[in-house]
Assembly symmetry: C2
Homo-oligomer: 125 residues x 2
DNA sequence: CTCCTAACCGATAATAATTATCATTAACAT
DNA sequence: ATGTTAATGATAATTATTATCGGTTAGGAG
């Protein structure tokens, strides 16, 4: 029986409105402007809840968890210089179908992450 | 000037000999049998060092870091029931080349991770 | 072979990320 | 309006990882 809450809506809206694949703390800091007394624990709780509901996705690309509300088939790029995580243009190929053919288990999700140097950091150096 | 050490060799050998993509603690527990007074910090130190030397790879698939000494182009599968991380048969396609075409930065590594239910857990349920 | 020095070690303290606890608040069915 | 209980804020606890530090040792210079 999951109820409605201002904080949960805010977490979800915040994530939907941004494209920088924020960490729990990023979202917490951003939400403090509109809900000054929101707790970091609440952000964690709601991220976990929304993930279980299948409304958002967790991205494991480095030590700390990042989140994404975009469920279109796309890949991520992590810059090893600045640490930013960005979307990277995808051919949109469905790797799940391809890999499922020879696999006895059930594949339900895919995560394709590239690492390297982003366009911005490449210019600087 | 990196020197030789029994502990570092042991960490590397241990990782090479197994295919379960262990965490630092997994390796630590395993090594205690042959080197009873090895320190967990030493395992972490040497994993970081070996990764920097490019001899092993870190896998970010869940919260805790896992390691792999296999550098052949392959994908991973994470079971959401038992948590095991296994290799999954790959077509061996080089996604880096494909994605580099439309990307302004420099792609240096790829990580393809699938999630779902592994063959063993599928049987049980 | 012995000496020197810096890399490495084990033990453990410190930090960072996340989760658990608990008293209070608020959503919402009755 | 009231009762039930999920959700919250504050914070303690836990987990994973990194930093510190005094002692040890690999391995090159003499």
């Amino acid at each position: 029986m999951t109820r409605h809450s201002r904080q949960r809506d805010a977490v979800y809206e915040n994530l939907c409105s941004r494209f920088d694949h924020p960490t729990a703390e990023d979202i917490y800091l951003s939400l403090k402007k509109e809900i000054p007394d929101i707790s970091l624990a609440t952000v964690y709780r709601n991220l976990a809840l929304l993930e279980n509901e299948g409304k958002i996705a967790r991205i494991s690309c480095d030590g700390t968890a990042r989140y994404d509300a975009n469920f279109s088939l796309h890949a991520h790029f992590v810059c090893k210089i600045c640490g930013r995580v960005t979307d990277i243009e995808s051919s949109g190929q469905n790797l799940i179908a391809e890999y499922s053919e020879k696999f006895e288990g059930t594949i339900m999700s895919q995560s394709l992450i590239f690492g390297g140097i982003c366009p911005e950091c490449k210019k600087i150096k």
